[in-house]
Amino acid sequence: GALVYQYPRRTICKSGTSMRMECQAVGFQATSVAWYRQSPQKTFELIALSTVNSAIKYEQNFTQEKFPISHPNLSFSSMTVLNAYLEDRGLYLCGARELGGPQDTQYFGPGTRLLVL
C-alpha cells in the first residue's frame, strides 16, 4: 500500500533558527507533493505544491525564501522552515499524489510537529 513517511516526527527549535523536514513516499511514486501546515487549532493551510520537473507553486502568505522546498525525485521531498518564529509552530504535513494511482488520491504522512521556543 501507499505509505508516506515524514522525519522528524517532532522537533523543537530556538526562535530565529531553521529546521529541515523530510517526506518519503514508500511503495509508490509521487508525481506531486503538497506541503500543508496544520495549526494548533487544527486548521489546514496549503504552503506549496511541488511537482517533479515543474516549478514549485507557493500559496499566498508562503514564500520560497521562507519555506524552500526540494523535490529531486519521485519518492522524496524536503522543506526547510527558515528563521522560525512562534507563528511557524504547527504540524507540517506532506501529501503525496500517486503516479498512476486512483485519480486525485492524496496520501498524507504523520507530520512533523514544530515547536518554537
Binding site: 508516506v4 515524514q6 506531486s32 503538497a34 500543508y36 487544527k42 486548521t43 489546514f44 496549503l46 505544491l49 504540524l91 504535513l93 501529501g95 499524489r97 485519480q103 486525485d104 488520491t105 492524496q106 496520501y107 498524507f108 504522512g109 504523520p110 507530520g111
Partner: protein, 111 residues
C-alpha cells in the same frame, strides 16, 4: 472566507448508532471531495472520497451522500465504534492537487 464548512464542530454518539457529519462548500468548480480521519498526534488518513459526478459512495460502514445542487455532502458512519472516535475533515479540490480542508468535526463514540 471559509471555502469548506463542517458541522457540527463536535459530535457524541453511542456505540452502534449512526454518526452524521456535514460539509458544505462555496466553489462550484470543486469536483473531488475526500474525507480524512485524524487521530491525535497523527496525520490525516484518507477514509473515503467522492467525485461530483456521483451522489453516493459507500465503503463498508462509511457512506458519503453528495448534493451538487446544494453544494452539500455528508458522511454517515453506521454502527459507530469507539475506535471511530477521531476528528474528521472534509476536503475539496479541483482535480485533487490542492485540497481545501474544512475545520473538522470531532467525533466521540461512547461505549
Amino acid at each position: 472566507q471559509q471555502q469548506v464548512r463542517q458541522s457540527p464542530q463536535s459530535l457524541t454518539v453511542w456505540e452502534g448508532e449512526t454518526a452524521i457529519l456535514n460539509c458544505s462548500y462555496e466553489d462550484s468548480t470543486f469536483n473531488y471531495f475526500p474525507w480524512y480521519q485524524q487521530f491525535p498526534g497523527e496525520g490525516p488518513a484518507l477514509l473515503i472520497s467522492i467525485r461530483s459526478v456521483s451522489d453516493k459512495k459507500e465503503d463498508g460502514r462509511f457512506t458519503i451522500f453528495f448534493n451538487k445542487r446544494e453544494k452539500k455532502l455528508s458522511l454517515h458512519i453506521t454502527d459507530s465504534q469507539p475506535g471511530d472516535s477521531a476528528t474528521y475533515f472534509c476536503a475539496a479540490s479541483v482535480g485533487g492537487y490542492k485540497l481545501t480542508f474544512g475545520t473538522g468535526t470531532s467525533l466521540l463514540v461512547d461505549p
